[in-house]
């Protein structure tokens, strides 16, 4: 009997607290798969954000650290500078990364901090109950944009992958999504590449993942999945915005 697929070893056998169909669950599984594949469980250190994924350490069987809301890349910097041989990633939501943590992500990226950022862009604050995020698309209603996001007073959604790609020491910046099995496979590839980027000391890498939040998108899980491709990509085009293998950056 040969096994075609089984739960990755770096994923703890515990039922997650995520809602049915939540992208966080998929992202966790993919990270565990990548850690297994690269065989780096013993030297990977993850940063859990404040957000729905706050107890990511309940699910990933690696050393992990909790960071104050938004300071995740700064905490990751502290860990990486202390242990340059370890593989350090920060896992962040759009509130964590693109609102309160704007300064920290920009400066970690600008320094070319040799870490990997996994950015779960679900365009909403999940953990606190569905408030508007910096990435919430125009006109979308949330609990704090009850009349729909108004670009006149609240601006347009922030495009993180593009913004960071403009910084010279960023080695890899990519946007992928969770909208179909193929797309999820692409997410996995992007994560693999980002970790490899770090292991080869290329500098800062970020994988922005358009990720469904069925609960606050008020869609059933399958609709939410499809919504990533249909609506989210209108605002957040997929793509590789920076790639050291192509630009030769930081070689």
């Amino acid at each position: 009997m040969s096994i075609s697929y089984r739960r990755p070893g770096a994923l703890i056998d515990k039922v997650t607290h995520y809602c049915p169909g939540c992208g966080h669950g998929i992202a966790h599984r993919l990270i565990a798969e990548v850690i297994d594949e690269l065989d780096i469980r013993g030297r990977t250190i993850g940063m859990a954000p404040v957000g729905c994924a706050v107890v990511a350490y309940d699910y990933l069987d690696i050393d992990m650290c909790e960071a104050p809301h938004g300071r995740t890349p700064a905490v990751a910097t502290g860990v990486k500078r202390a242990l340059p041989e370890s593989v350090v990633f920060s896992y962040q939501g759009d509130g964590d990364l693109a609102a309160i943590g704007t300064a920290e992500i920009i400066h970690a990226a600008n320094r070319g901090e040799n870490i990997t950022v996994i950015f779960i862009n679900n365009a909403v604050y999940g953990m606190t109950g569905g408030q508007m995020a910096p990435t919430t698309p125009e006109k979308v209603k949330t609990t704090t944009s009850p009349y729909g996001r108004c670009t006149e007073t609240e601006g347009y959604p922030l495009k993180v992958a593009e913004l960071l790609a403009g910084l010279d020491r960023v080695a890899y910046s990519v946007r992928v999504m969770m909208a179909s099995p193929g797309d999820v496979r692409a997410v996995r590839e992007a994560l693999l590449k980002a970790f490899r980027c770090q292991m080869e000391r290329r500098g800062f890498s970020i994988v922005e993942i358009l990720s469904p939040c069925p609960t606050y998108w008020k869609l059933d899980p399958v609709e939410a999945f499809r919504h990533c491709a249909k609506e989210m990509t209108k605002v957040f085009p997929l793509g590789v915005y920076r790639d050291w293998e192509e630009t030769g950056a930081n070689q």
């Binding site: 040969s2 096994i3 075609s4 697929y5 039922v15 995520y18 169909g21 998929i26 999945f225």
Partner: protein, 72 residues
């Protein structure tokens, strides 16, 4: 021969696996699992072609698939 195992403890009944199975090998149960949802279940194991779409989209890593060697 493929064996599909859906873990009713992990499955939250999101339906993604069912939606993305190209062969209709899976379906949602009408019964209630201990966590109070209608979980996914195998509709027709024989239809499965091992594409792994279901495992790839499952947010709860609730599906495992193994190949049973033909008893030759």
């Amino acid at each position: 021969m493929l064996r599909i195992v859906i873990d009713r403890k992990h499955c939250k009944g999101c339906g993604l696996c069912v939606a993305f199975c190209p062969k209709g090998a899976l379906c949602m149960a009408t019964s209630i699992s201990p966590r109070g949802v209608n979980p996914a279940e195998v509709r027709e194991e024989a239809a499965c072609v091992g594409c792994l779409n279901c495992t790839v989209v499952c947010p709860d890593a609730a599906i495992e698939i193994c190949e049973l060697e033909a008893a030759d």
